[in-house]
């Protein structure tokens, strides 16, 4: 309990050495996670990386095999009921009741959190207003657009004012407009002091919403940091040279003394530069001097995609 107490003082979510297997299949082989109070933390990773399993353990739905998992000062295996009182989970599917109206969904959730009828109705009114759902409040959820249903889903998870919110892939399957709606909702939460852990396979989403990002791959942590820290791990800006054939690609690589990453399938060369116009001009002059035919060039700022692929994908292939 001593360690739990120390973690409680510092972090709202503290995970150390978390392991979980389903039968013979290891889902998590050792995950550490530390999320301070009031921050938004993203778990980023491809399908099967262990994002949902981590959230399920944190939300007390699945028992860990090994490791220490403390949420808001309560150990998930020792005090699951105490954890459930302060958390809220929004799963991968919008777990809203499609037959009920938006308002009825909110009242039901409030009643399940032991609010009186009057309190439940008041909470529903507040959340409908806060998430811009008043127009849709008395229609059945089955008639909602995907984005509206997800906004209701997030509003539902705030019933009872949880301290910790788990959002498991909140925008998967949404169109770009709905995704922006959900982002606005999450940003709205971030300002309210709630601690948010969200999982996503969209780098743009993690970049935009999260204070810090943990990259999961194959059941373990591949990297952790702010979006900027992760980007800086793979260098500054790159200039991409697209070449007509493999011979030209090889000649171009020789011209820069091999100091570049190549994408053989895309016939392109990625040279790290300081991002200045002079550097681009020098590079093109070098290619011209060696008679290397360059078809097109592009200046490429590092994105989280690059980080993601560098950390989790096959080596040597660079994101477009």
């Amino acid at each position: 309990m001593c360690m739990a107490y120390t973690l409680l003082m510092t972090y709202t979510i503290a995970v150390e050495g978390l392991q979980k297997s389903y039968g013979a299949n290891p889902a998590l082989t050792g995950v550490d996670l530390h999320v301070p109070k009031g921050s938004v933390h993203a778990l980023l990773g491809p399908n099967g990386a262990g994002k949902s399993t981590t959230v399920k353990v944190l939300a007390t739905l699945v028992a860990p095999d090994a490791g220490r998992v403390v949420v808001a000062g309560h150990d998930v295996t020792e005090e699951p009921a105490a954890v459930r009182r302060v958390i809220s989970l929004t799963g991968q599917h919008a777990a809203v009741d499609e037959v009920l109206t938006g308002r009825e969904n909110l009242v039901m959730m409030a009643r399940l959190r032991h609010a009186s009828r009057a309190e439940a109705r008041a909470a529903a009114d507040r959340l409908l207003a806060r998430f811009d759902l008043l127009d849709a409040a008395d229609r059945r959820v089955g008639t909602y657009s995907g984005g509206t249903a997800r906004r209701l889903d997030i509003a539902l998870s705030l019933v009872g004012e949880p301290q910790v919110l788990f959002l498991d892939e909140p925008t998967t399957g949404l169109d770009p407009r709905s995704r922006r709606d959900v982002w606005a909702a999450v940003e709205e939460l971030a300002g309210s002091g709630v601690t948010v852990l969200l999982t996503t396979q969209y780098l743009e989403e993690a970049d935009r919403l999260a204070d810090r990002i943990t990259v999961l791959a194959g059941g373990e942590v591949a990297a952790e940091g702010t979006a900027d820290e992760l980007k800086s791990r793979i260098g500054g800006e790159t200039v991409q040279l697209v070449l007509p054939d493999a011979a030209a690609l090889s000649a171009a690589l020789t011209a820069v003394d091999g100091r570049a990453r190549i994408d053989e399938a895309g016939l392109s060369l990625h040279v790290t530069t300081d991002g200045s116009a002079a550097a681009v001009r020098d590079l093109l002059a070098l290619m011209a001097a060696r008679d290397v035919p360059v078809e097109r060039i592009a200046v490429h700022r590092p994105s989280l995609d690059d980080v993601f692929l560098a950390l989790t994908g096959p080596r040597g292939v660079v994101a477009a």
């Binding site: 007390t60 739905l61 989970l89 991968q92 777990a95 009741d97 959190r113 032991h114 788990f166």
Partner: protein, 250 residues
């Protein structure tokens, strides 16, 4: 008391579902009525039960309606499991099984309404029950117990199968169970194997007891086997549903 609020809230949810899924409710009422009409007016003329066939068959139709209606619980439980509602409920400070209790209890209420409609239609067709008020209370009680038992089994089935199609298949099984009982024809007319099955399956004593309650002759009815069958199935269904709920959610 908080558990009662939870269960009450979830029963309210399931009742709203029923009230709003008009098509499902119509099927639950129209199907037994169609079967009633078919048996009475198409097949009934050729079936000799020694009594007026309408009078003979109505208790059987009532049980068929109750069994078929209970099966719908499998689909609703499966839907909650596959759409994440179960996970959402389980991450709340709520007893997770409240969700199952809500489904089963709402199913009993729904089925009592649809069987009442079926009995009303039968009365319009000329069915004349001779039941006393106490008999009606006992009839309602026995039907509620039967519906709870089959509802619990349906909940377990809904937790056991992967998708809604398989969950819905239970309705057909439960729809056919009354056929091999004394519901439509006396089992004495069946081949020995089926007769043995009919004598040892739950719908036969339930149908016979209802017949006795509605039409008289209660003293010789198999009420004790009927209640034991239902209670046993209820216990088995609850145990199976509880075990499957834990398995599917860990």
């Amino acid at each position: 008391m908080t558990v009662m609020t939870e269960v009450g809230t979830l029963i309210g949810r399931s009742v709203r579902h029923t009230a709003r899924s008009v098509d499902a409710t119509i099927v639950a009422i129209v199907l037994p009525v169609m079967i009633l009409l078919t048996f009475v007016y198409v097949l009934g003329g050729a079936i000799d039960t020694g009594t007026d066939y309408l009078t003979y068959v109505v208790p059987g139709i009532v049980v068929l309606c109750a069994a078929h209606g209970s099966a719908m619980t499998a689909t609703s439980v499966n839907h909650d499991l596959t759409t994440g509602m179960v996970d959402r409920i389980r991450s709340l400070p709520v007893v997770g099984a409240s969700l199952l209790v809500g489904h089963v209890v709402a199913g009993v209420l729904r089925n009592l309404v649809s069987t009442a409609v079926v009995i009303a239609v039968a009365v319009l067709l000329g069915f004349r029950p001779a039941a006393s008020p106490l008999d009606w209370v006992l009839t309602t009680g026995l039907l509620a117990l039967f519906m709870a038992a089959f509802g619990a089994i349906a909940a377990a089935w809904g937790l056991f199968v992967r998708g809604p199609e398989a969950a819905g298949a239970l309705a057909f099984v439960l729809l056919f169970l009354p056929y091999v009982s004394s519901a439509f024809v006396p089992p004495e007319t069946m081949p020995a194997v089926l007769r043995g099955f009919a004598a040892h399956q739950p719908t036969t004593p339930v149908v016979e007891t209802l017949r006795a309650l509605l039409l008289g002759g209660a003293e010789s009815s198999p009420a004790v086997p009927a209640v034991l069958w239902c209670a046993g199935l209820l216990v088995a269904g609850v145990a199976a549903a509880g075990a499957l709920f834990r398995r599917r959610t860990s």
